[in-house]
Every structure is written in C-alpha cells, then in structure tokens.
C-alpha cells in the first residue's frame, strides 16, 4: 500500500470515528433521560448503541491490541491510565446493559422475554449510569486534543471555507 493510500485510509477512519463518536454521544444524552424520552425510546436506543460501540471498538482495535501486549512492559503512564479507564467504561457499560435488560419494560417483553422482578437491578442500573458519566467525562478529557483537532479539521474549517467561497462568489458577481 502506498503512503498516499495509507493517508486516505487514515483520513477516512478519522472521519468515520468522528461521526460515530458524535452519534454515540448524542444517543447517550437522549438515553440518559428516560423520563423525558420515554421508556421505549430509552431501551431501544440504548440497545442499538451496542452495534455502534462494537464499530467504535473495531476502529480502535490496533490501539487495543498494541497496549494489551505492552501493558505490563514499557508504556507511558497516560496510555496505561487510558487503557484501564477504557476497560472500566466497557465493564460499566456492560453492567448498564445487563441491569437494563433485567428491568426492561419495553424491549424484553416485546421479544417475549420476562425476567423475575428484582429492584436491586434498578439500583445497580442507576449507580452504574452515574459512574458512566464520570468515566465518560474522563475519557473525553483524555481525548480532548483529538476532539478539538478533528472538529477543527473536518467540521469548522470546511464550514468556514464554504462561507468564504460563497462570499468570494458574491463579490465576483
């Protein structure tokens, strides 16, 4: 593969990641408010996020395998912390999913599955969701420079360029 092809692949991957992460973030914010959006939207939206999260993990696969191999060896502290934080997010996210399935009022009954009622799962669901916000804040903070740089390159600059060209056209006309 030539260097140009690799650059194009990297650019495409970054764009896909940006779109995907924005979707995850917005969907998460909507799913976080079941009392306003309704239980059905909350459950179906959160469950559909599993597919998007799998793609998110697939796009970061190289980083995951690289750090997993070198975790005990020589890596910088930020990567190690980031790795532990990502695992915490994964575990917490899975606990949210599981407890959500256990207290499901719309999704599971629609699939014909009924779990015995146990309000302990509700407590676990709330606790793990609150923890998830904190972990998500840390995750965003650690990737903040990437977020700023990518938004600048693929969102703000193209929009700015679009306005600049239309202004030039107006002046030329």
């Amino acid at each position: 593969m030539t260097e140009t092809q690799t650059n194009i692949n990297m650019k495409n991957r970054t764009k896909i990641k940006l779109v995907l992460d924005t979707i995850i973030f917005i969907a998460f914010l909507i799913a976080m408010e079941p009392r306003s959006s309704g239980i059905a939207i909350h459950e179906w939206l959160a469950t559909s996020l599993i597919a998007v999260l799998v793609v998110h993990l697939l796009l970061s696969w190289d980083w995951i395998t690289r750090i997993t191999r070198r975790f005990i060896g020589k890596i910088n502290n930020q990567s190690r912390f980031n790795y532990i934080l990502n695992w915490s997010l994964f575990i917490d996210g899975t606990v949210i999913m599981l407890s959500g399935f256990m207290i499901s009022e719309s999704l599971m009954p629609a699939l014909g599955i009924q779990f015995p009622r146990n309000f302990a799962w509700r407590g676990i669901h709330e606790l793990s969701t609150n923890l998830f916000i904190l972990l998500l804040g840390l995750h965003t903070a650690l990737h903040w420079s990437w977020v700023v740089e990518t938004f600048k390159r693929y969102v703000f600059q193209p929009v700015f360029r679009l306005f600049a060209t239309s202004e030039k056209k107006d002046i030329a006309a």
Binding site: P116, F119, A120, I133
Partner: protein, 113 residues
C-alpha cells in the same frame, strides 16, 4: 473474516462481563437471603411492604411516565444540559490538572538546570 473474528471477541467479552456481573448480583442476593434479610429489602418482588393508606411507593426513576409533551421536552433539555455540564466540568478539571502538572514539571526542570 478478520473483522468477524474481532466482533466475536468483543461480543464474547460482553457476555463474559455480563455473566460475571449476573453471578455477583445473584450471589449477593442469595447471601443476603441466607442471613435473613427480608425479601422486599433484597429488592425481590412478590412481597409487598406495609404502606399506610395504600400510598403508591416511589422508586427512583419510576415517576414521570406519561408526562405532557412540553414538560417532557423541557425536562429532556434540562437533563441533557446537566449531563453535558457534568462532563464539561470533568474535562475542564482534568485539562487544568494536566496543564498545572506540565508547568510544574517545566519549572522543576528549570530550577535543576
């Protein structure tokens, strides 16, 4: 094929974590039942608490079903702003801390030189 394998690994990890979490919660429930914690306190349904005047018990997250459109829309916006606010505070704190550490490291290096 490679991607399919990776998807299976991710799903297996999901299933493993779910299995462990389910086992831990079930074990905790069984342990609390063994030491004599009443079924309702363990969170199990079927045994109802004695509530005076048949008042409806309140559960966190249980209220608010069927809110009117305007109210639920406002609630969604306020809730979203609150969550974004929390994340923004954490991001600001971490960035400030990182900046502070970097400056301190630089100052210490300058002093040692």
């Amino acid at each position: 094929m490679k991607i399919l394998g990776r998807i299976l690994i991710i799903l297996a990890a999901f299933a493993l974590v779910m299995g462990i979490a389910y086992t831990v919660v079930s074990a905790a429930n069984a342990a609390s039942s063994a030491i004599g914690v009443p079924a309702f306190e363990r969170g199990e349904d079927g045994v109802r608490p004695q509530i005076p005047n048949h008042e409806r018990p309140e559960f966190p997250g249980g209220e608010g079903h069927g809110l009117r459109g305007g109210v639920s829309g406002l609630r969604l916006i306020l809730g979203t702003v609150k969550n974004i606010g929390i994340i923004a505070i954490i991001v600001a704190l971490v960035l400030w801390l990182k900046d502070f550490m970097r400056k301190r490291k630089r100052d210490l290096q300058q002093v040692s030189e």
